[in-house]
Amino acid sequence: MSVSPSPSRILRNLLREEAFYFFTSIGNYTGQSAASLGEFMQKIREIDIKSLEFHLYREDFEKWTAQTLGDAGLAAQIKNLRLRRVVGNLLREQLYNVVSKRNRELKAKLTFRVIT
């Protein structure tokens, strides 16, 4: 049985080489990166739609959230967006909703643990 990582681990600040780097196509880096789940959530609101579509359909978001952040649950929700073939501003909106909801849940768990 696998043990899911703690909220603090998923919410941690990552090393430079672990960050998510936003590209718009093969080899074309936008200069934007996210080194935590919180920063990733913010970048979703401002990054070029082309970049969101590029990474969603390459499964890069799923790999990064599952393998680097260690959040398989979030990866599954992002996979669901991909399977529903969401694009454009709807993708930005729904991806932001999924990630921000997860971010809130994790922060709430973290606060609860600190209090108890």
Partner: protein
Amino acid sequence: MKIKGRSVALDALDWEVLELLQKNAKQTYTEIGQRLGVAHSTVYDRIKRMEEHGIIKKYGAIIDLEKVGIRPITAIVTVHTDPKQSEKIAEKLAEFNEVLEAFTSFSEELVVIAKVIARDQSQLHSFIAESIAPLLGVLRIRTSIITKKYKEKAFGTGLTYNPSRKGGQRS
């Protein structure tokens, strides 16, 4: 060939020998001599001196990877950099096996240009995303995948000597 301080001046015959060697480095001294109308001993002497002075750095093989079933892709990767970091980025890129050539350049801003080889687009993207984008000082990256090569040459005779000197000194 004349030595002037720390630099070496080549004459027209030296340049012609170099051009023939670039086309086919396995030619014999006699074959080169016949093409240029000079004795094979003259060719031997010129080549030896150019090797000794490091003008001819090495002889290599150009491999046709397609013949062994590998069809790599080549890309020109332009890395826009923080000016303070461009030298370090270029040095770092030069260490990677995937990078064939790396340069610093200045147009409107400082950039590092690298010629990169990869097995396929997926490997190219992974290399850029995982090895180049995270380097400190990288601002953004533009990549052009080469679709067809029309010419490849180490140097052009137009840069190296004046053709009007062709009939000049040959010793």
